[in-house]
């Protein structure tokens, strides 16, 4: 019985993971001219052209900023929610999770109506007699959209790991003379570090690849790597170059994940590696 599950899982992996990757590789390393397909590295050379490298770096930059902000907001929130004297933790957790039940496109559109020229914020400002300000189509707006969309991926693993900490270990630290800050620094934070790494990976990955957020909140003005790939497939129909960009992006994510998996020694799953 176990074997049946194992084989169907392997079959699933082959159909939905291995074959697509092989196809991506195939397109990335080839070009076709007049129906003739031939091997080439030209696609990769093009990725390293200045315009495209700039796009890649901007994506990584914004994704890193987003990850950092998610950590700075997410850790304290997770910490407060894990406090056994905090009675609203399930309510708060629920509030963070509800938006995730909604389609990401819709969620992001909602921000448009808040931020746009005649949106909620500007209407309020106008009502109070201030002049309207431009909130859309900036790097900050994109980061805001990313943080909003991916923050739960930071909060959840950290919250879970903090909840799991044996409270008597914290009491033992206090018993041995550690004040609250020392207890946090020597016990609580180290024990939540694997979850922090998971959170970072889980926020960074979708943030660096997203194209919905920059499309909507960046107004297409700020091209990120996600948009670039989307464009190659859906608008220009240059699958070969699109696949090459995808592979490079995969490599970036792969290295990022490897770096974090070094810190991450938690062997209880929930991680990429």
């Amino acid at each position: 019985m176990k074997k049946v599950f194992l084989y169907s899982y392997i079959l699933w992996m082959i159909i939905f993971i291995v074959i697509p990757i092989i196809l991506v590789g195939y397109f990335a390393f080839t070009q076709s001219e007049n129906g003739v397909v031939f091997f080439t590295l030209e696609n990769f050379r093009r990725v390293f052209e200045f315009v495209y490298i700039k796009v890649l770096l901007r994506s990584i930059n914004l994704a890193l900023i987003c990850t950092l902000i998610c950590f700075l907001i997410g850790y304290p929130v997770a910490y407060i929610m894990a406090d056994k004297n905090f009675h609203f933790s399930s309510t708060l957790l629920f509030l963070f999770l509800v938006p995730m039940w909604m389609n990401m496109l819709l969620r992001t559109y909602a921000w448009l109506t808040i931020l746009e020229k005649n949106g909620i914020i500007n209407s309020c400002l106008a009502l109070l007699g201030f002049s309207k300000i431009n909130l859309l189509y900036t790097n900050q707006t994109i980061v805001l959209g990313m943080v909003y969309n991916f923050l739960p991926f930071m909060i959840l693993p950290i919250h879970t790991s903090l909840k799991k900490i044996n409270y008597s270990a914290i009491e033992a630290a206090q018993d041995l003379g550690a004040d609250s800050f020392t207890t946090f620094r020597k016990i609580i934070f180290p024990l939540s570090l694997p979850a922090v790494c998971s959170g970072i990976t889980m926020v960074f990955m979708p943030a660096v690849t997203t194209f919905i957020v920059p499309n909507l909140l960046g107004g297409g003005k700020f091209m990120l790597i996600g948009n670039l790939i989307e464009q190659q497939f859906l608008r220009i129909a240059d699958w070969h170059f699109g696949c090459a960009v995808s592979l490079i992006l995969m490599a970036v994510i792969f290295f990022a994940a490897i770096i974090f998996s070094f810190v991450d020694t938690d062997d209880e799953g929930g991680n990429l590696f």
């Binding site: 009491e171 033992a172 206090q174 018993d175 041995l176 550690a178 016990i187 180290p190 024990l191």
Partner: protein
Amino acid sequence: MKKHLIELVDVNKKFDSNFILHNINLYIEKNEFLTLLGPSGCGKTTTLRIIGGFENPTSGDLLFRGKSILKLPPYKRQVNTVFQKYALFPNMNVFDNIAFGLKIRKISGDIIRQKVKAMLKLVNLSGFEKRNVNFLSGGQQQRIAIARALVNEPEVLLLDEPLGALDLKLRKEMQIELKNMQQKLGITFVYVTHDQEEALSMSDTIAVMNNGVIQQIGTPQDIYNEPKNSFVADFIGESNIIDGVMLKDFEVEFAGKKFECVDKGFNTNEKVDVVIRPEDILILPENIGKINGKVENVTFKGVHYEMLVRQENYLWKIHSTVMSLAGSIVSLKIMPDLIHIMRKES
């Protein structure tokens, strides 16, 4: 007035609306080995946690050298705790666990290494410095927990069933080891256990607890020889506890017979509990002792035999190094000073 090292004054503790501790009054002297003894759930851990600062009493006071320390957070109290569930730091190896308290006190690295090494030797775990605490057995973790607290040489050490996870042989060894250390280092021990033998062999003073009430405080000898009520008598060692009636001073009736005894000061015909230790009953041939009965069961217990003798509807438990034959009819004799009379609990 002489100041006690630690003093619990009229301490009450409520969880939700249940009283867990009732009017606990307890003095602990410097260098004393005091044991809180009682069945599981009687409030021993809660008492210890109040002293350690992890629970606040609902009412009452906790004094250290005569001054209230209720407002002091745990990390400022001069006590260290060996927790019932070990509570080791899972993110640190054995060395860092034990060194934790010393590092916080900014003691130099060389001295820390020496002390940790000496401590590990003491708990029989030399060479375990680099081990991952998560992969140690329960007994090993427990010994690390003891080492982690003891290495700080605190003025008072609170130990919550610290030997519970050890097998019998190691437990006996550690009992002697802990007692030696307590005397050598001059540390005051407040020790929690539900094992009466452990309490009797290690303590200077025992406080027997039941349902959040201290039943009796005294030396092991006092507690064993002069239990104050039938609960203490039953909990400390095995006992025969029988309903009796005090006929007058120095005369009690139980098991349908009149017996001479050494107790007085009861009302005439007051109902009492009569407590007799199994080793205090002599087995004699039929009709020589006051009570006749039939031996129902004989069990070898190592040093002695345990005989169950039925007399009508009461089953007497008797310990003796001499075996009686199962099925034989015998008589039982009890000396007057070995009959303990206790007032019935109201």
